[in-house]
Structures are given as structure tokens and as C-alpha cells.
């Protein structure tokens, strides 16, 4: 008995490891940004786990998109406060 499916926390690490080749092919300055992006998925691990998606990538991708959305929203609010109008 015991767990059949790894916890999302472990699955997330496995998924990140599977993207090692992608990371390796990036210029040095981009690797830190890539690591930071993957880290942002770890801020929402419980929510990704609760979503119960068959692909671990889906949960991670949603967490990263959500994290970026929140950052953008904060930027938009900050810009609005300073009177900056977004272009386009």
C-alpha cells in the first residue's frame, strides 16, 4: 500500500527536471529567469494539486500564468496610480 501517484510537490520537481535540456539551451542570463518562472509555480502548489489534472504540466502552467497575471495586475494598478496609460 502507500501512494501510487506522487504528491504534486514531487511531481512538480520531476517536471522541472524534465525541462533541464530546455534550460541548458538558454543563454546564461535567461537561465535565472527560467528558474524564477518555474519557482512561481511552487507558490500555488496546493491549488495545482487540488485541480487534479492528468498532466502535471497543466497544473504548473496554470500556476505560472496565474502568477504572471497577478504580477501584471499589480503593475497595472501601480501604473494607473502614477497616471501612466498602457499602450495599445
Amino acid at each position: 500500500m502507500g501512494r501510487t501517484i506522487p504528491s504534486f510537490r514531487i511531481a512538480e520537481e520531476q517536471e522541472a527536471a524534465e525541462w533541464r535540456s530546455f534550460r541548458k539551451a538558454l543563454p546564461k542570463e535567461d537561465r535565472a529567469a527560467f528558474d524564477e518562472m518555474l519557482s512561481s509555480a511552487r507558490l500555488f502548489t496546493s491549488a495545482s494539486s487540488a485541480a487534479v489534472r492528468p498532466s502535471k504540466f497543466e497544473g504548473m502552467a496554470m500556476a505560472i500564468i496565474f502568477s504572471h497575471y497577478k504580477t501584471l495586475s499589480r503593475c497595472a494598478v501601480a501604473a494607473k496610480t502614477r497616471g501612466v496609460r498602457p499602450e495599445g
Binding site: 501517484i5 507558490l43 492528468p54
Partner: protein, 737 residues
């Protein structure tokens, strides 16, 4: 069966009951019973067909063969012979690995330390129980305790079985006797006589199983006193156990369990290997033995899981349910999507990284045992075939739960109810002397409750099934999410939540508001909540590998009354050197005086001075080796290490000195030359003689990390490097001035 009684007069009496345990054999074709009846005819007194429940999932009884054994110690051997009489499954064996003393207690409905009357009739004992296992205020007979220790005349750096006995010490409430005069044989005989005179019920040792008793046995052999080394009550000479200890893997770590050395008529407690004694003392041990119907000797060494199994076996016995020798209860089939929903743990809200102020902590009381008890979760109750229309359904999965009480809820009723009552007694007693007793008893029951959940999914558990384990986690997720929703509806923000605890905050909320929230959650979820307090400030720490990601269960904070709660940092880690733990705790105590995060920042200069003080002590070798020793469990056998790590350098020296180490055994070592490449990088603490030169630079660097771990959340500039630079400046200051 040999039974030791403690009379009201204080005298210990040995009684023998003509009794032996039964094992049971099941087979699809009852005619097949003739085969074992003939084959093992030498091993049983009699056999008879009886109606019993073979499986926990089958409420019906069936005919099985009861075999009353002649020799209680051979039950597994006989069971093995029967099992091999046909392909696996032809003969199903039951009750074969229940220790005979436990079977005896179940059968006679007795428990250790129970008050009872007994009559001997034709070689059999007739018992009349005058006690109740549910009693909270039971009387324990007057028990005498002694502590035994030896001093070894070491010839090498480590004590060996071949070294001569320097002295032996026996310590009791009435004083301490040391045997050091005369020959080694004189000392051994004087010790034996002193134990006989003191006639203790308990002999406590440090490392009695691993070293002290094997050593005394070897010294007795060397002096031709093998038959005279009698420390038990029944005049049987001590002998070394026939089998060695075992290494095992549990929760990500390797552990080592030595073979137990038991004394007849007395209880030997090896303080270093008794989990129950170390966690809950004698009172906890008594409570555990009574509740789980396990002899004191066994319960002092047994894992809590074994004690829990014993409690389940007792209830199985009462219910006419047999205990399978080799459980075959398999997980129910699940398709992929169901498995993905099911196979998850309890819920966690990621902590809000950094420092928060005015945070309230609310914990569910004994949540998992209460889920099992009140939601009737057991291997046989989940998706039972008899109640498909049951209203009791597992959240998210919709599985039905049986309307009849399961074996696990039956067994844990006493754990849940008694613990709750002891906690009430502890809180409400006016007699302060009673408080530690209630506290120890509830602590022992707490560990039983914790283990109950793990045993639902443990592959060696007789009444476990992963589906029951899954059901508990599903309930947990629902309860914690419901609690968070209730908190948010009342304007609180959830800053962290883990399985059964919730940390919430709301501006200007006070204790009353948090208590009210707890009451609301309790009334809506139906599970009791306790209010742990309000934190003036609380820091959730990041991962060491990724500073942007919070880590569960790594936090520290100060309550309004200045008390600290510290989890996962060095101050709480048993592998960290004592001096480091003390230093970090000193820092935290200073920080706890501050009322806000900003005020904590103001304490940085004072905390830095504390760091300097400890660093100076390291620099001047004023800290002893034991204060700087790291503790670690060997993850493998000594000959399996391939690189010369710091741990391996200590292991290498120990094995060179003749120490016999096993995977899972603990060692303590001091770093002497971290950057070195040979086996002198560290020295085992056991081999330290007087003062040693430890690696000052390495230790100060490590101390800086320990200090920065608690300072950095409040003052980001306080990194380990910054503290090191400050220390260097502090050292050079007085020198240059």
C-alpha cells in the same frame, strides 16, 4: 503462561497458568483440514471446528479449524508448515503472530497493572477483574525502580565487550551504591546480590540493549560466572539474544532497532530505545500498556504502531474476528481519474512568505482520529457491500461508508475519549501534583492517535486498506477548506494552513475574535477547534534552495505573552549542535520581547552581540566537544560509504576502533578539519579525550548561518556573510585600538 503479580503487601509473586494459544486455519474445502490435522499432530493439544469471522470485510462467520498449540513459542513455525501444505491460499492462517502474552490478556480480558483477584485451580488461574480499562483515576501498585550503570576500564578509545569492568552503579530513591572494590568477579557478584536485595520491578539503563547488558553477559562469561549473572526475579541467568538488531526504513530515514534484552519478573527499560518512556515517562507507559493490553516490557520497546495493533487485535478477539497472519486485503480498483482524485494527502495552504503581524492560530483537536472515529472509517466500512445507500459519504469521491461500526473506530474510541478527558482533567485539576500524570497519559494516547492514521495505509497492518487512508485525507481536505471559507467570510485572511491547523489574520482582531471564529468553524464543521493564541509577529521562512518559495512547517513567532513557537529551524533540530540551538534560542528570546516586526529589527544589534559572544567562545575553544557535536543516523552500513564525507570520516574511525555499526544507528561527531581530505575531517564524540581542536572557522561560519536564519526575515542585510564580516570587524577592532 507465567504471570507476575504484585500483591497489596508489595511482594511480587510468580504464578503459572496451564494455557497455550490457539492458531486458526481456514480452507475453502473443509475436507482439507484433515491434512494439517495429521501433519502437525505433534504440535497441538487438540483441534476443533469453530465458527469465526475470517475477514474484516465479511460480516458472516465461517467454519475454521482451531488448533490449541502445545508450545506457545512455535505458533509461526507451525503456521508456516501448514501454509506450505498447498499452493498459497489453500490454507489461510490466523492469529499465528500474536505474541502469546497478548493473546492471554485478550482471552482473559485482562490488562497490565489491572487490579484483580486470582484463584489457582488444577494448574489454571481463574481471574476476577476488579478494575476498568476506562478508569481515569486508577491506582498503580507501588513499583520499585533502580537505574543501573557501568564504568568500563577502556583499553582503547571506545569501550569494548572485552574491556574489564571498572565499576557498576545501582541508583534508586534510597541512594546510590557503587561496586568498585575487589576483582571483576567480586563486582559482578556484588551487583547481582544488590539487585536481589533491592528487588526492583523496573531496571532502567542507558543502552542496556546495545551495550550494557551484552557487556555484563560477556564479563560474566570471562569470569566463569555465566550461570550466576541473575538480574531477573526467577533465578534464570541472563543470556545474549539469539538474533541481532534490525535496520529499517521509515518516513525517509533509516533507523536501527537493537534486539531487546528482557529480564524475567522485572521490566528492563532501555531509556535510549524506549519511545514511550522518553515521550511520556512511566505514567505514559502504564497508560499505553493498560489501554493496548501489552506487557510493560513489550510496550516499553514496541513502536506505537505495534501498541495500536494490539488494541485492534483485542477488539477483533471480542468480535470473533480472526487476525490474518498474512493480510491479503487489497485496494479496490480505481480508474485513472478516480485514482487522481483519491490519491492525495491532507490540504495545505502555502504560507505567506515573510513576516506577518497579529496572526491567530486555530488547531483542530486530534482531527484524524476524530475523523476515523466519527465518520466510521475503517478498512471494511469504506465502500462496503451492505450499505450502498448510506448517507455517510466520502467527500469528493462519493464512496459509501458502512452503517455498522468498523474495527478501527471501535479500537480508537478509547484513545479519543480518554485523551479528551485527560486533557480536561489536566486543565481543570486544582491539585498541581496530578497535572504531570494527566499530561503524560494524554501524551501517550496522542501518539496512539497519530499512528492510527498511518496504520490505515500501512502494508503490514492487519486491518489496513489504502481506501480508508484516502477517505481520511478526503475528509481533511473538506474540513480545512470549509474552515478557510468560514474564516474568509468573516473577513479573516488565511496566511497558512496545514492539515489540521490554520493561521489567520485580520486587522485589529483580538483573542476574542479568533476564539469566536474557532467556535463558528467548530459549529459548522462539527470538529472541535482549539485556539492556540495570537502572534505579535510570525515569520514564515523560505526554502534553502529557493529563497522565493515558502517551506511548510518552517516558521517561528512570538505570542502576545512573549512565549515562542518555533518549528523547523535549528533551535528545534536534534541533529544541530547544542551550542547552535542554544544560541538561536537566545536570539529568539530577545526578539520575542519585541511587539512588532519593526521592533524586532531594533533588536538586531543586541542579537549580533549574542552571536559575537558564541563565536568568541568557539574561537577560544571555550565550548566543549559535546556542545558542538552533530548527530546523525547512518543512512547505510559503514562499508557502503564511498566518499570521505564528514560523517564517513567519523564512521571510519569508529569502525577502526572496533565499533560495530549498523545502518540506522546514530553517531555524534565534531568537525575537526572540514577542508581536509582524509578520515580526520571529524572525530566521533565517543573518541574525544579531554579537549580537542575543532575547526573554528567552519563552526563560526555555520553559527553565522544559524543566526542569520532568524534575523534575515526582519533585517535582510543580516546574511551569514554579513554576520561573518561584522564578526571579523569586531575581532580586529579591539586588537587595533
Amino acid at each position: 503462561m507465567v504471570v507476575w503479580l504484585k500483591l497489596e503487601s508489595g511482594e511480587a509473586v510468580r504464578l503459572v497458568d496451564r494455557w497455550s494459544p490457539s492458531i486458526f486455519v481456514g480452507a475453502d474445502n473443509k475436507a482439507d483440514f484433515a491434512v494439517p490435522i495429521y501433519t502437525v499432530r505433534q504440535d497441538y493439544e487438540w483441534t476443533r471446528p469453530v465458527q469465526m469471522r475470517e475477514s474484516v470485510i465479511d460480516p458472516k462467520t465461517s467454519e475454521v479449524l482451531e488448533m490449541k498449540l502445545k508450545d506457545a513459542t512455535k505458533s509461526q513455525q507451525v503456521a508456516g508448515r501448514i501454509e506450505r501444505l498447498g499452493p498459497f491460499g489453500t490454507f489461510r492462517l490466523y492469529n499465528a503472530d500474536i505474541p502469546p502474552p497478548q493473546s492471554y490478556l485478550y482471552e482473559k480480558d485482562l490488562f497490565p497493572l489491572a487490579q484483580c483477584d486470582v484463584v489457582t485451580r488444577e494448574g489454571r488461574l481463574q481471574w476476577k477483574l476488579e478494575d476498568d480499562v476506562w478508569d481515569y483515576e486508577y491506582a498503580v501498585p507501588g513499583l520499585r525502580k533502580v537505574k543501573l550503570d557501568v564504568e568500563v576500564a577502556k583499553e582503547g578509545k571506545l569501550p569494548r565487550l572485552t574491556d574489564r569492568l571498572e565499576s557498576a552503579t545501582l541508583e534508586s530513591d534510597s541512594g546510590k551504591i557503587t561496586f568498585e572494590g575487589g576483582s571483576e568477579a567480586d563486582k559482578l557478584l556484588a551487583l547481582v546480590q544488590a539487585v536481589r536485595d533491592a528487588d526492583p520491578d523496573f531496571i532502567l539503563t542507558n543502552d542496556g540493549d546495545t551495550f550494557l547488558f551484552p557487556y555484563l553477559i560477556r564479563r560474566a562469561q570471562a569470569n566463569g560466572l555465566t550461570s550466576q549473572l541473575v538480574l531477573g526475579r526467577d533465578r534464570t541467568a541472563m543470556k545474549a539474544p539469539s538474533k541481532g538488531g534490525t535496520s529499517y526504513f521509515s518516513y525517509g530515514r533509516i533507523h536501527y532497532k537493537p534486539s531487546a534484552i528482557k529480564l524475567r519478573g522485572r521490566v528492563h527499560i532501555d531509556i535510549n530505545t524506549s519511545f514511550t518512556y522518553s515521550e511520556a515517562g512511566f505514567e505514559g507507559l502504564f497508560e499505553l500498556s493498560r489501554t493496548c493490553r501489552m506487557p510493560l516490557h513489550t510496550s516499553s520497546r514496541a513502536s506505537i504502531g505495534k501498541a495500536l495493533s494490539s488494541l485492534q487485535f483485542y477488539h477483533a478477539h471480542k468480535a470473533g474476528l480472526l487476525v490474518p497472519w498474512k493480510p491479503t486485503l487489497a485496494e479496490r480498483f480505481k480508474d485513472r481519474s478516480e485514482l487522481m482524485v483519491a490519491d492525495r494527502g491532507g490540504f495545505i495552504f502555502e504560507p505567506r512568505l515573510g513576516v506577518c503581524e497579529n496572526v491567530g492560530e486555530l488547531d483542530f483537536s486530534a482531527l484524524y482520529p476524530n475523523i476515523m472515529y466519527r465518520k466510521n472509517i475503517s478498512a471494511e466500512t469504506i465502500r462496503c457491500s451492505c450499505c450502498p445507500d448510506s448517507d455517510n459519504r466520502v467527500p469528493e469521491l462519493g464512496w459509501n461508508v458502512c452503517k455498522n461500526k468498523g474495527i478501527v473506530p471501535l479500537a480508537i474510541e478509547i484513545i479519543v475519549e480518554k485523551r479528551l478527558r485527560y486533557k480536561e482533567l489536566e486543565a481543570n485539576t486544582t491539585n498541581k501534583a496530578d497535572r504531570p500524570r494527566y499530561s503524560a497519559r494524554q501524551a501517550a494516547l496522542k501518539w496512539l492517535g497519530v499512528t492510527t492514521f498511518g496504520y490505515l495505509g500501512f502494508n503490514n497492518a492487519k486491518f489496513g486498506r489504502i481506501d480508508a487512508h484516502i477517505a481520511v485525507c478526503a475528509w481533511d481536505r473538506k474540513i480545512l477548506l470549509d474552515a478557510a471559507r468560514i474564516a474568509e467570510e468573516r473577513g479573516f485572511e488565511v496566511v497558512h494552513g496545514i492539515v489540521d491547523s490554520l493561521w489567520v489574520r485580520k486587522e485589529r482582531a483580538d483573542s476574542g475574535d479568533y476564539i469566536e471564529l474557532g467556535a463558528d468553524i467548530e459549529s459548522e464543521t462539527g470538529f472541535a477547534m482549539t485556539f492556540e493564541g495570537v502572534y505579535k509577529w510570525l515569520a514564515f521562512l523560505p526554502s534553502k534552495a529557493d529563497s522565493g518559495v515558502p517551506v511548510l512547517n518552517r516558521y517561528f513567532g512570538a505570542h502576545s505573552d512573549g512565549t515562542l513557537k518555533v518549528r523547523g529551524v535549528d533551535a528545534r533540530r536534534h541533529d544541530t549542535p547544542l551550542a547552535f540551538r542554544r544560541c538561536q534560542m537566545d536570539l529568539l528570546k530577545i526578539m520575542a520581547r519585541a511587539g512588532s516586526a519593526l521592533e524586532v529589527r531594533d533588536t538586531v544589534p543586541e542579537c549580533t552581540r549574542v552571536f559575537f559572544g558564541y563565536a568568541d567562545m568557539i574561537m577560544h575553544h571555550e565550548l566543549s566537544a559535546s556542545e558542538l557535536a552533530y548527530t546523525t543516523n547512518l543512512s547505510k552500513a559503514p562499508d557502503e560509504y564511498t566518499t570521505m564525507t564528514v560523517q564517513n570520516s567519523a564512521v571510519t574511525q569508529l569502525t577502526r576502533e572496533g565499533a560495530s555499526l549498523h545502518a540506522g544507528e546514530g553517531i555524534r561527531y565534531v568537525i575537526t578539519d572540514y577542508d581536509g581530505r582524509d578520515s580526520r575531517r571529524a572525530i566521533p564524540l565517543d573518541m574525544v579525550e579531554d579537549q580537542i581542536k575543532y575547526d573554528v572557522e567552519r563552526y563560526i561560519g555555520l553559527l553565522a548561518r544559524v543566526c542569520s536564519a532568524v534575523l534575515e526575515p526582519f533585517a535582510p542585510e543580516c546574511t551569514a556573510q554579513f554576520l561573518m564580516r561584522s564578526y571579523e570587524a569586531h575581532r580586529s577592532g579591539p586588537l587595533t585600538s
